[in-house]
Amino acid sequence: MITCPNRFRRVRHYAVVKSYRRPNLKIMQCDMNWFIRILGSSIGKKLIMALTGLGFCIFLFAHLAGNLTICAGEDAFNSYAERLHALGPLVILTEIGLLFFAVAHVFIGAYLFYENFRARPERYLVKKNAGGRTIGSVTMPYTGLFILFFIVLHLIDFHFVEKTDQTIYQIVLATFSNPGYALFYIVSMIIVATHVSHGFWSAFQTLGVYNSKYMLPLRVMGTIFSLAVGLGFGFLPIYISFIS
């Protein structure tokens, strides 16, 4: 059972009972068990999902803005890529952060999925939706798994690709000139948008921000954000096939 981690109360208690003589070293030692216990609870795990998920949303926003520079032409796109990489350690730090976030999001997401599956050993013969669930919310674990698969492919194609004798613009053009790949990419972006269509507002609910005043704005923002992700990223392969 979780006990109250309020250490200050114990200090005060000490002061009364033992007429505060020396600082209690046991309390002053950094005991992080309470922290791990809180994060390991149902709401704690959800908190990590929400924070990492929102982190990815910020990343998606920045990534989309960067990608759209391709509309300004070859030079603009290449110079965007160059300037980004000129940030050096900042980029590496962000990459490590994202990797750390991804590991947490994927493993905790998988564990939640397992726990939720286990919470209902016997299934219903008939189960009907009463209007709460959405396509996004029903498919969360599956769209998530697909995104993981996509990210691995995406990194192989654009991040770990040999860049010495060709610019990133050329790589993008060459990759999307394959209509099959372009289609795969567009479908993937629709799937990302589906994940975010539930994830965005859900994260705010998990963080406890949700109430009747924020309900509509958050739902609308989530829809706008997922549309922006789907249309923005999905539009790029189509645009590229026109200019190449």
């Binding site: 149902s42 939720n116 209902r120 189960k127 963080l207």
Partner: protein, 255 residues
């Protein structure tokens, strides 16, 4: 008279979960419910079916019920995939048979969750909810002379919200409706009803940690914000209460 009554009577095909005891395997059995008045409640329809079964020497269908006026939280089964049947904001005892049509097939199942074991047929053991309440769903009051009812001012808005949360009758439909069998709407409502009022504040931290700790321990699933609980709750408790619970827990646990 007879014709009028005939018109307001329907025949149904029932498919009911039958299970002799907690550790026996159960299965669906088909029954016919004949001449059911549309003025009856769903539970009265089951009574009619049971009476016939008792007369023919069969074991009647076990189901929970008490007040039959939608306030006690004892009744409840999943009817055609919905907790407490197809009507919004209605307990099973308040669901009238006029919402069904002649010849309908009605599938009746118990709440399904690891934390709610089937006792018999449609009756499940909801003592897990009691354990959560025992862990912290109360306020401590010193005995003595009765305090003045109006000594502590409560803002009208807070009182309304607390009352909305306190409308929860603890029937367990939220757990049954949740795709993850999570109890967070119940716990959210119970935590909210106290934390919104000044009387509940002194123990707010302890309460949030204890009740959520107990909920996790009992094997309920994790909320994924699907909102099915809110949509299928007979008292239409809002998921706003889950957000408030999350706030209370994170505040108590991390700060």
């Amino acid at each position: 008279m007879t014709t009028a009554r005939d018109k307001s009577c329907i025949n149904l095909k029932l498919k009911v979960w039958r299970q002799k005891g907690p550790d026996v395997k159960g299965r669906f059995e088909a029954y016919k419910a004949r001449d059911i008045s549309t003025d009856m409640s769903f539970l009265e329809m089951l009574d009619v079916v049971n009476e016939k079964m008792i007369l023919s020497g069969k074991d009647p269908i076990a189901f929970d019920h008490d007040c039959r006026e939608g306030i006690c939280g004892a009744c409840g089964t999943v009817v055609n995939g919905r907790t407490h049947g197809p009507e919004k904001g209605t307990t099973l005892c308040q669901l009238h048979m006029r919402h069904f049509s002649n010849g309908d097939t009605v599938v009746i199942e118990p709440w399904r969750s690891r934390a709610f074991k089937v006792v018999k047929d449609l009756v499940v053991d909801r003592s897990a909810f009691d354990k959560i309440i025992q862990a912290g769903g109360y306020i401590s009051v010193n005995t003595g002379g009765a305090p003045d009812g109006n000594a502590i001012p409560v803002p009208q808005e807070a009182a309304e919200k607390a009352m909305d949360a306190a409308a929860c009758i603890g029937c367990g439909a939220c757990v049954a409706a949740c795709p993850n069998a999570s109890a967070m709407l119940f716990v959210g409502a119970k935590i909210s009803q106290y934390t919104l009022l000044p009387q509940g504040l002194p123990e707010a931290k302890k309460r949030a940690l204890a009740m959520i700790g107990k909920m996790d321990e009992l094997g309920f699933g994790n909320c994924a914000n699907e909102a099915e609980c809110e949509k299928q709750c007979p008292k239409e408790i809002s998921i706003e209460n889950i957000a408030r619970m999350n706030r209370e827990f994170l505040k108590a646990g991390l700060f």
